[in-house]
């Protein structure tokens, strides 16, 4: 039963080396906020489920550099969706809900969770890896059917797409050295 593994699409070299390097430079120049979990928003209490910083990318941003990177990544994401739909034609893309640059510093992590939830209309999730000069920080999925963990190797410019639903709990393992940068996208 390889359904879970086969439903996680891994695409390499989605963005050129030069543009990844420029995006990383941009990420290093902006101010990040502490990222929260949906649980924290609901309970209004901090938890230790996630130690991450985020920076929103949006085409409604007042910064045209921010808008550029949103649109540039959206273009790559939409192309990747076409590949995803070759295997899963019943997925119909509606819109990008959110896009963020994530920064995991030393000891940063995100415990197992799923992206879909009440009031969260997320159907497809995506991560774009921007660097690999850090230790730890692996993106892992838990295959609940086979009771095993699937680890995605770190590769610059690699894009990973998967359904946001309860079949795909995933985590980012603690970063033990360096800083991990990625872009995350949720779509419906």
């Amino acid at each position: 039963m390889e359904l879970i593994k086969k439903s996680i699409l891994v695409l390499d070299d989605v963005i050129g080396v030069t543009q990844v390097s420029q995006l990383l430079k941009y990420a290093n120049s902006v101010e990040f906020n502490r990222a929260v979990t949906v649980g924290e928003i609901i309970t209004k209490e901090k938890n230790n489920h996630r130690v991450t910083k985020n920076f929103p990318l949006s085409r409604l941003s007042g910064s045209l550099s921010n808008v550029h990177w949103y649109n540039f990544i959206a273009n790559k994401f939409k192309n990747s969706i076409l590949t995803f739909q070759e295997s899963f034609p019943y997925y119909h893309f509606n819109k990008i809900n959110n896009m963020e640059i994530l920064k995991y510093e030393n000891n940063g992590y995100y415990k197992y969770h799923i992206d879909e939830g009440e009031n969260l209309n997320r159907i497809l999730s995506c991560i774009l890896l921007l660097n690999n000069d850090y230790e730890g920080g692996e993106l892992c999925f838990y295959d609940q059917i086979n009771k095993k963990e699937i680890t995605i190797d770190k590769k610059v410019g690699r894009m990973i797409l998967w359904p946001s639903n309860f079949l795909f709990p995933h985590a980012v393992k603690p970063v033990t050295k360096g800083t991990r940068f990625s872009v995350v996208i949720w779509a419906s």
Binding site: Y26, L64, N71, F72
Partner: protein, 188 residues
Amino acid sequence: MGQLKKDFKFKIIKNFLDDNERRLIKNYCTSYHINNQNNFDISQNNNGDTSKYSDPLMESLLLCKLSKIQEESGLKLLPTYSFWRMYTKFADLKPHKDRPSCECSVTVQIASDGTKWPIKIDGEEIILEDGDAALYWGTEVEHSREEFLGDYQSQVFLHYVDANGPFKEYIYDKRVFAGIDLEKNINF
């Protein structure tokens, strides 16, 4: 080539765009940029910034400014093509000379966030204000820009050739006329 062409390597044209032209084109470029998820220049620009060859508005500007550029250059000119770009943070312009269609080139600063960003022409640094232009001989004079540290700067290049010079066959960049994409040249 005309005699006057040898008199200077470049010249600054203050207020090349009047206020109405500048506002119109600024708003157009901003709107285009916000909506652009298809036209990214990854071959000549490190950020893959929003750019457009033969944009209808810029091609109109190319034609409208012909007499002004003839006056400034002292040459009878033929229009070749226009190209505009929304430069964003950390963009640069590597030192280069242009192709024959760019014999007489005009770089026009449409709008910016106010960050000074010198263009180096023939080794000399020039700072333009919004609405200003620099005229230079693109095929002969090396030009470049260091890394941009601001948020945005929209710029349009207007290109012409000497009507009596060696590149006169590059009129309209060898298209049937101005305002059409190269790849659509024979399919309209």
